[in-house]
Symmetry: C2
């Protein structure tokens, strides 16, 4: 049963001090001078990871949870009072701070590209500043994993795909958010029990080698497990010898059948998986067990899964390649001030210049296929589908947000509209076109002129 995305309780990672100290030293500077006018920040990725053709937006629901719940707890304020440079009156003011701004964002499951804002915050400067670190963390990580996860169903669309990666995730929050991101990107479920409880994601669980080892024989282990889980007996057959394990399954299958139990499947976890799958399939078929399905795991990434699609394997468990995104374990996400007090702002650091102003992303289609995006000012109308939508006003969510099922549908639609070569695992020959509009370019020039004047003054 699927819970509403918006229904999750406030996450402990959302404590206000889970931020960079410099947000607070800057807030002290803003507070000294009453710099409380409206600022617009945009969150975007600077470049694609090597070998990737597109990204998938995710993490918005947790990010909105964070913004709605933002406040410093008494123990956090007490710690701040002890830190050098923070006056008591400033800390008192922090204690009253809530997020009262507006947020526009791409819905979770939207395909996006570098330079495109996936989230835009418009709020009094200190509020918009303070939330930088946690917003980047939540959007960056969920988008990282969703963008990795979606490659698996693209590689093996007919296969059952399960997240096995909690143990190698970078901590519990990572494991939970990865289970969610993988599911919304097209995985069938997760082994992480807590993700089942929290979001209603389907959970999968069988047995580890230790279960087999703890018994005096594999036969005894298999019989006991099947009787403990008569409706979902998936047996791990490689603890000692994979083919011998398959023969054991055949041997006990008729006995179990007489008890009304059908073995649901076997799992392979070592060696040459394609070779073992063929041998095991034959043993099972010839032994009268054609209905027993074969699952595989063992350090699989999407390329390994793609290479196994012709093997008789019905499902895959994927670990760290998914939940750590080992080939590209980070996105270059940033959150940049684009407007303050009604005036455009532009960072011009070498290799890191930004486009100023409140922006919108317009996607154009030809015959249902996306042909290019335009990064325009919010009030320009270059044509195409606007991807950023209002999701929070004055600190309040607009609606409860989509269910995970609705996000999964969006992922399918968003990916289906991509040019075919972008959906391949291999790097595409051409880069998807993202252009800055005339309005954005003119505003950048204006910001540069204004800065030159101020610097010269």
């Amino acid at each position: 049963m699927e819970a509403e995305v918006g229904a999750s309780t406030r996450d402990p990672g959302d404590r206000a001090l889970v931020t960079d100290l410099y947000q607070l030293t800057m807030l002290k500077g803003y507070w000294d001078h009453g710099m409380n006018e409206v600022a617009t920040f945009e969150l975007f990725v600077r470049r694609l990871p090597p070998g990737r053709n597109f990204l998938l937006a995710a993490g918005l629901a947790p990010a909105l949870d964070y913004l709605e719940g933002l406040r410093f707890e008494p123990d956090e304020l007490a710690w701040l009072r002890e830190q050098p440079g923070f006056l008591a009156a400033f800390v008192d003011w922090l204690g009253e701070l809530r997020f009262t701004g507006d947020v526009h964002a791409m819905p979770e499951g939207t395909v996006f590209f570098p330079e495109e804002p996936v989230l835009r915050v418009t709020a009094p400067l200190p509020e918009a500043q303070l939330v930088e670190t946690r917003l980047i963390s939540l959007i960056n990580f969920s988008s990282l994993i969703a963008s990795k996860a979606v490659r698996f169903p693209l590689a093996a669309p007919e296969t059952v795909l399960v997240d096995f990666g909690l143990r190698r995730s970078h901590g519990a929050e990572a494991g939970l958010l990865a289970a969610r991101a993988a599911y919304l990107a097209g995985f069938d479920g997760t082994a992480t029990a807590s993700a089942g409880q929290r979001w209603g994601i389907p959970t999968y669980g069988t047995m580890a080698h230790s279960f087999v080892q703890a018994h005096e024989s594999e036969t005894e282990a298999f019989l006991r497990f099947a009787r403990a889980h008569p409706d979902n007996a998936v047996l791990l057959i490689d603890t000692y010898d994979t083919e011998a394990g398959a023969e054991t399954v055949v041997r006990i299958a008729s006995q179990l059948r007489s008890e009304g139990i059908e073995v649901a499947g076997v799992r392979l976890d070592s060696g040459d998986l394609a070779d073992h799958a063929h041998r095991v399939r034959r043993i099972l078929d010839e032994g009268g067990c054609p209905g027993v399905r074969i699952f595989a795991s063992s350090s699989l990434d999407e390329q390994a899964v793609a290479n196994l699609v012709r093997a008789p394997i019905d499902g895959f468990g994927v670990g760290s390649a998914l939940t750590v995104s080992t080939d590209a374990p980070t996105l270059d996400s940033v959150y940049k001030l684009q407007e303050y007090a009604g005036r455009p702002r532009r960072k011009r650091s070498e290799g890191k210049a930004t486009w100023p102003g409140r922006k919108q992303v317009f996607r154009r289609y030809a015959d249902g296929v996306a042909v290019g995006d335009i990064l325009a000012l919010e009030d320009e109308a270059p044509g195409g589908e606007p991807l950023l939508r209002p999701v929070m006003r004055s600190g309040q969510r607009l609606g409860s947000g989509p269910t995970l099922g609705e996000i999964r549908d969006r992922v399918r639609r968003s990916c289906a509209s991509l040019p075919g070569e972008l959906r391949a695992l291999e790097p595409a020959g051409t880069v998807y076109r993202v252009e800055a509009s005339g309005g954005v370019r003119a505003l950048a020039a204006q910001a540069d002129r204004a800065h030159a004047t101020a610097a010269g003054a």
Copy 2:
């Protein structure tokens, strides 16, 4: 002020359902048959990540917090009752389950190598089984980051090193644990405010580009920031033009000095850092600001830091290279059953066979330099320093554990005892020697014979 490591409160990631569902399906099998005898599991890493010469044990204190607090909460039990295959009586039994076992572990900050248990759990089988996922997650991640972090002070021992990586960490728990792991491995502090509150780790915070951009001029931003933080004014000078920023610092320094404020430092965050550092140093020195220190950040890894040690840079902020360990973002950690009901157990899967029995790691030294480790049975005495120590008995911690300062000392000692070529950033020409003792080999043969007999029976 440094808090006691053991004093941290139970982490929300420590909820009992933050585990793989298969732990629970296996527990159901154990419960059905009263399989409650004592099991020994060992946690070890199967191989070194590419390019690394050694690993650093970390994460024990959070792991012991988890074991001490382990229990299913009512909402978790309610969810379990709704899942197929879990009888009410089984779920009631889970509700009573606590961790009552013994733990031996390498102290945090110990250098270790593949195949060596860093943690050994001896407990009734269901307890020892259930905790697998979370123990791997905590030890694996903290050891991953500590093993990465220690390479930075090895590359630049005289430099101030600060963790800037929260925003790119895989979630909040990752960011917090990374700050802790980096500090114990030799970093000077972190930008993560919450890590300061929680563990007393020194926190560092300056300003972002947005602070500069929000002001009408860089001069105004610098003056305001310095007045807001008169004792720690570190100014980010690359928002528009690095050298012009340095000249602005020189221009305002005398004015600030007349107010009793000394600019503490500047930060560079883009372009050729060595080149900028030399130019900025000259501008500052010639402008009468020789005491202003230079800090640098911008996608730095340990090799980049090593390449910059001759530049006039006093400190570095390190982001995702540290907190994601981007070059090797996962360790191949496993947790394996080695003994049950007094008998050795051995997994023999292809390429994944394990050494059975309750083991100890003995490190031998010659003239203070570690020359090799022996993986022996607990009751063998091959000579050398035993690295695993008792840390928990019957579910209770033995003592409050070392402070982070004591762990930092252990890291220094443990690294100093390594052969010199293992401390280099480059892969060592020779592999550190880890041998299985005669007792371990004999036990493996015995386990294999016992299994063959059982299988043939």
